[in-house]
Symmetry: C3
Subunit: 151 residues, 3 copies
Amino acid sequence: MSVYDKLKALDVSLPGMTAPPAAFVPVVRTGDLLFVSGHIARKEGTPWVGQLGSTVSTDSGKEAARRTAIDLLGTLHAVTDDLDTIKQIVKVVVLVNSTPGFTEQHVVANGASEFLQEVFGAAGAHARSAFGAAQIPFGSCVEIEAIVQVR
Amino acid sequence: MSVYDKLKALDVSLPGMTAPPAAFVPVVRTGDLLFVSGHIARKEGTPWVGQLGSTVSTDSGKEAARRTAIDLLGTLHAVTDDLDTIKQIVKVVVLVNSTPGFTEQHVVANGASEFLQEVFGAAGAHARSAFGAAQIPFGSCVEIEAIVQVR
Amino acid sequence: MSVYDKLKALDVSLPGMTAPPAAFVPVVRTGDLLFVSGHIARKEGTPWVGQLGSTVSTDSGKEAARRTAIDLLGTLHAVTDDLDTIKQIVKVVVLVNSTPGFTEQHVVANGASEFLQEVFGAAGAHARSAFGAAQIPFGSCVEIEAIVQVR
């Protein structure tokens, strides 16, 4: 089953490349590794603003992480032209815009991690760090970066 | 002197693999690099809860970083089966659960960095970043991730 | 035009290697990748202390990011002996010491990103993440780490 079949089965349509809002590029390739820039959570095309522990619930944060992973796949599709050339999702870092009292960053991050494993299977099982950021550009509630190995 | 001899001389016994508390894996290998997931500080098997600048002193934070590095070696031992196959500790990121007023993240992080150099010698001299996180999963006081090169 | 000619045209003189203030090394090479440790912002040789959203303006933060990128190039020059051997600035992470209300980390980070592209051209177009840290060692307002590919 190809990655695109799995996305269809999950009723996920990929957006186009996420254009960086600043002076950098979405992805740099070196050898067989793709370094993917931090993608901030968006809702209806604009930053998904809010902070976990205050204006965003854990459930909503988890959904924001899932949608951010979808945007990140949209970028990877635009760059690789074929997501089935991805050999391994190597490493994911999930930054969660957190009040000092919020301690469920790992639950929020699972929104991205579970989605990647649904789509890629064993190739989606990644190393990960998740933690609370004091803020994120544009006030977005989640930001995700990744290292991906291609064939 | 093997890594295991050094650990014995330091009276350090390694724990087993730290099972991720969420939907990711402890380590992913790509080429000769191991990407090690963020390990949170633990004390007696449960998260070492607290924040630097408030409920955890710099000295305790440094000890938490050292113990987290030990847990990380436990994971690396489980994955490699032989820590002497490690060629270089390439990069370490130390996240310190910090109040806005705490500025000694580098001292806390030294708990991990000094330990790695005690055990691995020159092979343990790594690039590093350390900074203050707004929070860490489970409220843990320290989180450490690493990139390690194997032979 | 060599990197050194461009630095001269920009009237930038490089400092020497930035010595780590703790138990780690400035750069580790593995294969053709250089992992560069987090460099904190400095002004006149001492940490550039302050927090965005409070004691440091966005414009000053951007300037701090630019100067930190210059220090980072100083380190890379000391390590490589020839900055023209740099093939690609692969990945940059910009940590911005932020109050919970400051959301312009991407603008601050542009101080570094724009400088790297001025100096290296296409080879300076990098993947990037920027976010708000709760604090940074020594109370510095900005910290930057990088992954760089050499020929």
